[in-house]
Subunit: 271 residues, 2 copies
């Protein structure tokens, strides 16, 4: 295995760029190949079978780019596919759920944690199971928030409609006095200020992206896969999507200024 | 060509069932094979390339079911794919846009028409072009309403949030004094009462599903393809999807009581 090979990162669309950004900040020497499945998004309303099939195709694609490790930067795919694909794949694969769960368990003071995410992520129960494995007495309340992704994609970050929808979704978490909330979908950090205001200053909001980058760094060190070379700046970060490459470049540039030279469109169904 | 063969109807998901329902009402003798692309929906935020590729795969699948004609019961696919696939396909293919445009042009009194639909449908400009071909002096205002589909899928048919979003989307149409509005997405009839209330009683709301069924009937008669046989009731209506068959059956049964015996899931990427 080439320790100077790139890290593969994938998501259903742009959300996983927040995870890619944390990896860039923490490990500025590493190369990244990012894939966003913009032709088939969203994943959060689809079945486990379908999300697993899509994840396998993307992993086969990333393997053709000679990646040394893969980060599933999508909560839904982490919930539905990680357990299977990590057994099938020769290189290390990590998701975002374990990291998010660990941070929340460490952060809570009263043992009451809320998790918000897509229908698929919440229905999988994987955040709850993972946190209860770490600390059996924890109380976890999961709440699916299917309108958050479309509201974010419409750019309604600060809007009365987003406030109204968020206050409905969060009511149950508030009534259970959770002191920690996991942002279990990569879109949600973009409405963090709304969630912060509605939940109050005393509630910890956990963004699994930070901890996932830390877990990746530790994993690469343990496996002797930390990059030691100097990457060509033009080649360092490469972006692929299954649809709408230009729209992706525009959005990605807003999250990662100056890092997105171009985005290539591929036909993921061929993998 | 077997005149007793079924009619193929497809959509990105469940929305096209409103078109299937009109075909059933108008031509109760006809058999229907319905396909909903639930593994890759929505189409309205995707590119022309991708929607065309998906439409071709679905048409290849429907051809394996020996259909005698195909109805693209999705505005986005009608906008992006019809012109190309009708030239490639040996059997007749119709979409929903021509029928909707014709009804609107016939309905308007002041020559000012609004069209609401997905980003793709509105950006294609096909409703506008089609109406201007029919009547060059018509004034058409198109407005993309990307949040309507997620709001409908959340079941918020009668809700203050849907009211608020709809009043923002419709403001431009109202300011232009349109007297006719085309519901250019098959989900929108489900929030018809909200649209009706906001636009007022004097504005005609056009649902292209009715006129599409009429256009299909006329086409079958002209081509000598009207069904003359008696279909086995168990075989008459068949439903296929690319994901979540049980969820589809539940939703379809609410639109077509007693007509949906089962829904089969297929892998559309293989076609």
């Amino acid at each position: 295995m080439d320790r100077n090979a790139p890290i593969g990162v994938f998501d259903s669309g742009v959300g996983g760029l927040t995870v890619a950004r944390e990896i860039m900040r923490r490990m500025p020497g590493e190369r990244i190949v990012y894939f966003g499945d913009t032709a088939r998004l969203p994943y959060g309303s689809k079945s486990q079978d379908t999300v697993l099939r899509y994840s396998r195709q993307i992993i086969r694609f990333l393997m053709t780019r000679q990646v040394k490790a893969i980060v599933i930067a999508c909560n839904t795919a982490s919930a539905y596919a990680l357990k299977t694909v990590e057994q099938e794949t020769e290189i290390p694969v990590i998701g975002v759920i374990r990291a998010g769960a660990r941070t929340a368990v460490q952060a809570t003071r009263n043992g009451k944690i809320g998790v918000i995410g897509t229908e698929a992520t919440i229905n999988s129960g994987l955040y709850t199971d993972t946190m209860k494995e770490m600390r059996p007495d924890i109380q976890v309340t999961g709440k699916a928030c299917p309108l958050f992704v479309p509201l974010v994609e419409e750019g309604l970050f600060h809007d009365s409609v987003t406030d109204e929808i968020a206050s409905r979704y969060l009511a149950e978490l508030k009534s259970r006095f959770v002191d920690t909330v996991v942002l279990g979908c990569t879109h949600y950090p973009l409405i963090r200020s709304t969630l912060r205001r509605l939940m109050g200053e005393d509630v910890t909001l956990v963004n699994p992206a930070y901890e996932t980058a830390a877990e990746l760094e530790e994993l690469l060190e343990r496996k002797g896969l930390t990059c030691t070379g100097e990457a060509d700046p033009e080649e360092k970060y490469r972006f692929y999507v299954s649809d709408l490459a230009e729209k992706f470049t525009a959005f990605a540039t807003s999250i990662l200024p100056d890092q997105v030279k171009e985005t290539k469109k591929i036909n993921i169904e061929e993998y």
